[in-house]
Amino acid sequence: MHISDGILDTGIVMAANVVSVGVIYLTGRNVKPEEIPKIGMTGAALFVASLIHFPMAGTSLHLGLFGIAGIILGKRAFPAIFTAILFQALIFQHGGLVTVGINSLNMGAGAYAAWLIWRTEALPEYLRSALAGFVGIIIPALLMSLEFQLSGYGRGIFYLFSIYIFAALIEGAVSFSAVRFFRKVKPELLI
């Protein structure tokens, strides 16, 4: 899921960095002090979540928790995701440092989509929470495949995409149980 340095077209990567700084400003603007600890905690959870690996079809997948970040933080998920990805790149060498922008835009898009689904009141809550978790992985995977396609890589990346469907299913289950847990323990966390 994390794109490394030197794989994508430099133009795309640099543009994504500029855009993501702008998006941080837009999503972090007028943040209320009481929101900040929540953002920090979610960022910390995202930062660690990527270390939980499970083997799958010859490669290994890890949790992203972008769906849950979207559910808890809404549009404020982006600064948390950016921070988590930046520190993953710096401390775990997980994904490139120059590609922090494009990675966080991909995953931020997943979190935003998850939030949009979470806000759809028409659906029952269990369905919304599972769908949000699913979308939180599938949107970034889709974007990543698209970016690889734009940079002139072949169709092999779509094989990778099919693996992410499994990851998204697992993520959906995680998000479902997390929302159930929050509803029971700390319902005010769910906007």
């Binding site: 030197g6 900040i36 953002i39 920090g40 960022g43 910390a44 520190f87 710096l90």
Partner: protein, 189 residues
């Protein structure tokens, strides 16, 4: 200065202290004096050797090269000094980096049976050709990706390190945001 600006500056500074080697490649030299030859090993920060780099060796008080050559696959070259004094060596990889080192040869170097001595110096690489530097930056980044400071630290410590940084940044932003809020409330009152 807004909080956002402060945070961005913090991030940039933080990134810089992890990747300073990418911006100005430090070239390290390890010289070994062992009569009758001096062996010099040239390498980037931690491991990557300067392979096939141009070497110019200048005798003390001489502007003409005493010897020219290239480093081998391990970034090593050797020469046999003839007089005492400071021998200057310039290594240029022709991909945009160069470094200088000098080796002082004293009188007892030439006396038979002297034990060898090893010394390590670090020179900040000068960028000789910005265009070539930019072109080859990706190659070096790959070579040096393995040389970040944190490579040898156990994973558990790295996790704690990362978490404490995230919590610390959160606390800083929280504190300054609360202060802003209080200030504006005071102004209203």
């Amino acid at each position: 200065m807004t909080i956002m600006k402060k945070v961005i500056i913090l991030f940039v500074l933080f990134a810089l202290c992890f990747n300073s080697k990418i911006i100005a490649h430090a070239i390290n030299f390890e010289t070994e004096r062992h009569a009758p030859a001096v062996t010099v090993k040239a390498f980037f920060s931690r491991s990557a050797p300067l392979v096939n780099a141009r070497v110019e060796i200048y005798a003390p008080e001489s502007e003409q090269p005493f010897q020219t050559g290239r480093t081998d696959q391990k970034g090593i070259f050797a020469f046999v000094p003839t007089v005492t004094g400071n021998w200057r060596i310039r290594v240029d990889d022709e991909r945009g980096h160069a470094g200088n080192v000098s080796v002082s040869i004293s009188g007892n170097f030439f006396e038979a049976g002297e034990a060898g001595e090893t010394e390590e110096t670090e020179e900040t690489g000068e960028i000789t050709d910005p265009a070539a530097e930019a072109e080859n930056a990706a190659v070096y980044r790959e070579e040096e990706a393995e040389t970040t400071i944190l490579r040898d630290i156990p994973l558990a410590y790295r996790i704690i390190f990362g978490l404490s940084l995230i919590f610390g940044i959160t606390a800083i932003i929280y504190a300054s945001r609360v202060r802003q809020e209080l200030n504006s409330r005071n102004r209203e009152a």
